[in-house]
Symmetry: C2
Subunit: 629 residues, 2 copies
C-alpha cells in the first residue's frame, strides 16, 4: 500500500505497518511497544532515546534532539522517538534505559498485558549544598533540581513533608530519594537511595471480605496478599442493615468507617509481613468496592443510596492523603478511590470491566460479578449496560444449612450418580468435608435436577427412593456426605430451603442478565463471552451454572470463571496510569438500568425461579439433556 512503511522494533522483533511520516513514538504505541517518556512525547524530557542505524530512514535530527543528545550519540544513530519521523522501512532498537517494563497480569482464564506505569515514581538526587552565595531556600533548591534533572515544572509538596524538609535534607547530607505522585506532588523524601523500595496497595472492600495486594511498583509483581472478614459484619451481614445502622447517627457512620479501616490495616499488615515490605514504603493505594462500601470507607452518609432515587454522593474518583483516612501506609501517600457507576454499581464494577476488558472488544460480552449484590453487564466497546441484582449471600454460604465460605474443608465440586444417587465430591485442601461452598451449591442443584430428585420448580421428589433423601424436622434433605465421611461427625445435607435460596439467588441474577439483554437487543447467540467473577470462591462449573439457569444457555467454552476481578482491576489501576484513565471512561460511559423499576422485572423474575427457566426454549441444551434421557 502506498504511504505505509514497515517498522521493526528490536530486540523483541515486534513489527507494525504505519503511515509514512509517523513518529517512532507513535509507531511504538501502535505496535504495543513501551518506550519511556515523562513528557508524553512532547520533546521535553529526552527519555525516549532510541537507536536507528539507518539514518536515511528518518527525518533530519531536530534542534530539540540536539539539546538532549550529544553529538557522538547522534553519530551513533541515537534519536528521540518523539521527534524522529519515519520516512521508509526501518529497524529501531530500543535500549534498556528507554524501555517501560511490560508485565502480564494473570487473571484466571485471562491474560492481559499491561505497561508498568504507576503514578508514584522515585528519583534519587543530590542537591548542591547551600552557601552564602547560593542561599536558595530548601524547597526551591529541591524543585529547581527536579526541574533540571527530571523536567518537573509544577510540583507541589505535601505540607507535613515541608515541615520536615530542612532537617531531613541536612540529615541526608543533601542526597535523597524523592517520591512524586502523578507528576504533581512530592509526597515523600527519604535519606539516600531508596529507589528499590517502591510499593503500592490494591484494596477490594467487599461486603463480606476485604482483600489487599501489596505490589512492587518497580516490577509490577504482587508481593503479598492479605484477606480478612469485613469487620463491619458485627453491624449486619448485608448492606442494608449496615446502612440502617449508619442512618441512626454520624458517630455510627464513623464507627463503621473505622471498622473498614481497621480491616484494611490488619490485612495490609499481614500482606506486608508476607512480602517483607515496610508499610511506609507503600506510597499509593487504589480502592474498589460497591457503592455502599465506597461511601462507608469515605465516611460519607450512605442512606441516600438505600432509598429511591438511590443517589450516591460522588461518582468520580477521589484522591485522599493516607493520613486523613488513617491507612497505615506512608502517611503522605495517596489513597485513590476508583470512580463508581451508580448507586448499586460501584467501583468494584468499574474494576470488573477494567480487568476483563469487555469494553475493548467489538463482540458482546456478558459479565456477572456474583456477590451479595450481583452486578451484571452486557455490552462491548461501543456501549455497556449494567444493573445490580439483589442476589443475597447464598453463594457465599449464608442462609444455607451447611453452607460455608470457600475455605479449607468446603466441598467445592460435586457430582451425583444418576443411577445410584451416590455423591462424588472434592474439598478445598483435600480434607474431610465440613460444608458446601457456593460452587458446590450450584453443582448440587444442577445434579439433583439432572437426577430428577428436584423438579423444575425446585421441589424434592419424595417418590425417588434412596436413603440419601429424607425428611428431617419437617424439612426434606438430601445427604451429601454421611456422618462417617464428614469432618464434623455429622451429616452434611442440602435442604428444600437451601434449594429455594439458590433458586432465589440465581433467579435474581438471571433476571438481570435477561432484562439487560432485552434492553441491549441481543440474544444468547450474540453473546461472545460470559465472564463469571466473584470474590467468594475459586471455581464455578459453567455446565452447572448454565443447567440451573444462573447464566444464559451459551456454549460452555464461552463461559469463563475469572475470580476476583475487583481486586485485579484495582491492581491494574495501581500499576498503570492508562488503566486509571480507562476506569474514568468506563465510569462515565457505562449506563445503568434500575431493575426494580423495570416493567418486566416481576414477570422475568418469576419465570427465572424455574430450573433452568419457565421457558425451556431459552435453554436448549437442558431441553436436549432431558429429551435424550
Amino acid at each position: 500500500m502506498k504511504g505505509l512503511v514497515t517498522v521493526i522494533f528490536e530486540p523483541e522483533g515486534r513489527r507494525v505497518r504505519t503511515a509514512l511520516g509517523t513518529t517512532i513514538f507513535q509507531a511504538a504505541s501502535e505496535a504495543g511497544v513501551g518506550i519511556r517518556s515523562e513528557c508524553g512525547g512532547e520533546g521535553k524530557c529526552g527519555k525516549c532515546r532510541v537507536v536507528v542505524p539507518l539514518k536515511s530512514a528518518l527525518n533530519e535530527v531536530t534542534t530539540t534532539e540536539m539539546k538532549h543528545l550529544s553529538s557522538s550519540e547522534i553519530d551513533s544513530g541515537y534519536r528521540l522517538a518523539c521527534c524522529a519521523l519515519i520516512k521508509e522501512d526501518a529497524v529501531i532498537m530500543i535500549p534498556t534505559e528507554s524501555r517501560t517494563e511490560m508485565r502480564k497480569i494473570q487473571i484466571v482464564g485471562l491474560e492481559r498485558p499491561v505497561a508498568l506505569n504507576p503514578l508514584v515514581k522515585k528519583f534519587h538526587i543530590t542537591l548542591p549544598k547551600p552557601t552564602l552565595s547560593d542561599a536558595r531556600p530548601d524547597l526551591e533548591r529541591l524543585l529547581e533540581c527536579l526541574k533540571q534533572k527530571h523536567y518537573f515544572y509544577e510540583l507541589e509538596i505535601d505540607y507535613e513533608l515541608l515541615r520536615e524538609l530542612p532537617d531531613l535534607l541536612r540529615d541526608a547530607n543533601w542526597g535523597i530519594t524523592v517520591t512524586v505522585w502523578n507528576n504533581r506532588k512530592i509526597i515523600a523524601i527519604e535519606k539516600g537511595n531508596t529507589l528499590d523500595k517502591l510499593f503500592g496497595l490494591a484494596i477490594d472492600i467487599g461486603t463480606s471480605k476485604i482483600v489487599v495486594y501489596v505490589v512492587d511498583l518497580t516490577t509490577g509483581r504482587t508481593m503479598g496478599i492479605g484477606s480478612i472478614e469485613n469487620p463491619q459484619v458485627i453491624h449486619g451481614e448485608d448492606i442494608i442493615s449496615r446502612i440502617t445502622y449508619a442512618m441512626t447517627g454520624n458517630e455510627k457512620l464513623e464507627t463503621l468507617q473505622k471498622l473498614i479501616v481497621k480491616g484494611i490495616n490488619d490485612a495490609l499488615q499481614n500482606a506486608c509481613i508476607e512480602a517483607t515490605v515496610n508499610p511506609r514504603s507503600i506510597y499509593e493505594a487504589t480502592v474498589v468496592g460497591n457503592t455502599a462500601m465506597h461511601h462507608f470507607f469515605l465516611a460519607i452518609q450512605p442512606k441516600h443510596i438505600a432509598f429511591s432515587p438511590f443517589t450516591p454522593a460522588i461518582k468520580r474518583s477521589i484522591d485522599i492523603e493516607a493520613r486523613q483516612l488513617n491507612i497505615k501506609m506512608h502517611p503522605g501517600g495517596i489513597v485513590h478511590v476508583l470512580p463508581i457507576i451508580a448507586g448499586f454499581v460501584g467501583a468494584d464494577a468499574v474494576a470488573d470491566i477494567l480487568s476483563t476488558g469487555i469494553h475493548e472488544s467489538e463482540k458482546v460480552s456478558l459479565l456477572i460479578d456474583i456477590g451479595t449484590n450481583t452486578e451484571v453487564f452486557v455490552g462491548n466497546a461501543e456501549d455497556i449496560l449494567s444493573c445490580s441484582c439483589a442476589s443475597g449471600p447464598a453463594f457465599e454460604g449464608a442462609h444455607i444449612k451447611h453452607g460455608m465460605k470457600a475455605v479449607t474443608g468446603a466441598i467445592e465440586k460435586l457430582r451425583v450418580n444418576p443411577d445410584s444417587y451416590e455423591v462424588e465430591y472434592e474439598t478445598i485442601g483435600g480434607t474431610k468435608p465440613v460444608g458446601l461452598c457456593g460452587s458446590a451449591m450450584i453443582d448440587v442443584t444442577a445434579e439433583l435436577f439432572k437426577c430428577r430428585i428436584i423438579n423444575r420448580r425446585g421441589r424434592f421428589n419424595l417418590k425417588i427412593k434412596t436413603p440419601r433423601l429424607k425428611v428431617v424436622n419437617s424439612d426434606i434433605a438430601f445427604v451429601v456426605a454421611r456422618k462417617n465421611e464428614s469432618g464434623t461427625g455429622k451429616e452434611i445435607t442440602v435442604t428444600q430451603k437451601d434449594i429455594n435460596e439458590i433458586q432465589l439467588a440465581k433467579a435474581a441474577i438471571f433476571t438481570g442478565c435477561s432484562i439487560l439483554m432485552k434492553r441491549k437487543k441481543v440474544n444468547e447467540k450474540d453473546i461472545n463471552r460470559v465472564f463469571m467473577a466473584g470474590a467468594f470462591g475459586s471455581y464455578i462449573n459453567p455446565e452447572s451454572a448454565k443447567f440451573i439457569g444462573l447464566t444464559p444457555d451459551v456454549p460452555t467454552k464461552k463461559i469463563k470463571f475469572v475470580g476476583n476481578t475487583a481486586i485485579t482491576g484495582a491492581e491494574l489501576a495501581l500499576i498503570s496510569k492508562e488503566a486509571r484513565k480507562t476506569a474514568k471512561t468506563i465510569s462515565e460511559k457505562v449506563r445503568y438500568l434500575e431493575l426494580s423499576v423495570d416493567p418486566d422485572f416481576t414477570l422475568e423474575f418469576s419465570n427465572a425461579m424455574f430450573l433452568p427457566h419457565k421457558d425451556l426454549d431459552r435453554f436448549p441444551s437442558v431441553k436436549t439433556y432431558f429429551n435424550r434421557m
Copy 2:
C-alpha cells in the same frame, strides 16, 4: 499617530489610546477600568458584557458571542469585551453588571486604588432534585450546575465537605450557596442564600505584636481589627531566643506554633466581635510576617535561618486548609501564607513593597520597615535591593529606661526649647505621660542634639547648666517630665544608656540604607521618596529622623511615615488576586544583600554611630542648621 485609536469608557469617561485591533478587554485593562471576567478573557464565561452603540467601530459579532448574547442584545449593541476588536475610535459603555468594584485602600500618606477581586467567591444556586430518571450523584449534580451557570470546568471539592454533602443538600432542599476558592476548589456550602456573608482575614505576625483585619470581601471594607501581643514572648522577646528555644526539640517548636495560633485566634475573635461577623464566614486568610514568624507559624524548624548561610525552608507562597493549622475561621477555608524574599527578609517585606508600590515607580524609593529587625529596600520598577538590619527593639520601647510601646500615656512627640531647655510634649490619649515611645525617643535624641546637650558622639555635655540634666546612679539623665507632671509620680528621664541604644539602632538602619544605596549606585539626590513603615507606632517626625541620621538627608517632604504596611499588604493580597500575583513577582525579583558579610559593613556602621554621621557632608541640612546657629 497611525495604527492608534482613542477609546472612551463610560460612565467614567476614562480615555485610552491603544493599538488598532486591540480587544475592548485589553483596552479596559490599559485604561485601568475594571471589567468582570471569570475566565480571564477567554470567551468562556460571558461576563464581560459591554455596550457599543456604534457597531462599525468593532469587528463582526463572533460565534462565541452569539453563544452568550441573545439576538436582541446583539441588536442593542451588546458585545463581549474579550471578543470585540476595536477598529476605530469608540465609546464603550460598561453596564453595572459588568463592573468590578474598585475601592481605595487607605494607608497613612498613601492612597492606592485596587480592584476588588478576592480569591473566594460565592454563588447561590438551586439544584434540580434527583429523580429516578436523573439519579446523578450529588457532587456531579452540583458540579454540572456550577459548570452550566458559572463556567467552572474543573472544580475540586474539600474532602471533609464532600462527606457532609448528601445531608447538606437535602437539608437545604437543594437551594445552596457555594464558596469557591481560586476558581479551583469548593471550600464551603451553606443552606439558602448567604451571598452577603463573605469575609476574609489579613494577618500580620510581628515578633512583638499580632494584628488581624476582618475584611468584608463583598465591599473590600475593613470591618474589625484585632491586635494582641505575640504570646511567644514568654519564650523570649527577640527572634533568636525563640529560635534557640525551638532548636531544643520539635515539641518546643510545636509549643511556639500553638502560641502564634492562639494569638491569632484571640485577635480574630476580638475583631469578629467588633465586626459582628461569625468566624465561620471567614473563608480565606492571608498571612505575613518575618521569615522566623513565617516558619514558626508553619511549624517548620527555623534554626537553619539563624546560622550561615541563613537558608529558609520555602520561599514561595503556600495555601493550607484552616483546619490543618487550627485557625478558627471556616474549617475548610484557605490560609494563604505570602512568599518571602530571604532568610531575614520575610513575607512582611513583600507586603511592605506591595502596599507602598515602590516596585511600580520608575523613580527610586527607599523603604524602611522599622522593627526589632528592620528591613530596608532601595529600588524602583526595574530592580529592588533589600537587606535586614539588626536594629533591636529600642524603637519599640525595650531596653530604654522609660521606654514603652505606643499606647495611651506614651509621649509620642517632643520639643526641647534651645534656650530654656524646657520640654513640650504630646502624649497618646492626651493623658499624663508615663513613658516615651519610639517616635519620642527619636525626637528627644534630635532635640538634645540640636541643643548641644548631647554631642555628635551622643555623649551628654555636663557643662550645660540646667536642672533637667543630672547624674543619677552614675548614669547621666535628662529629665523629660518632672515628678509632678508624670502619670507615675516619678521623673521620666532619658539616660546616656538610652541615647546609646538609639544610636546603635539608628546606626544599624542607616548602615543598611547606605550600603544598599552604594550597591545600587544611587545617592541622596536620586531618592525620590523615603517610606518609613512599622507596626510599632503611629507617627515619626521626619525632621527628627533625618537629624539623628536614621534616614538619609533628603527633603523632608519626600519622607512619609506609612504605618503598618505589612498588614496593609496582607489586606491587599486578600482582596485582590492581581496583588497576590504581584507579591509573587516581588518575592522572585527583589534581590537580597547579606549585610553581615559585606566588606563595608564595619566601617559604615561605626561612621553611622555619630549624630547624624561621621561624614557631615552627607547631612547638609544638619550642617546648615549648626552653621546657622
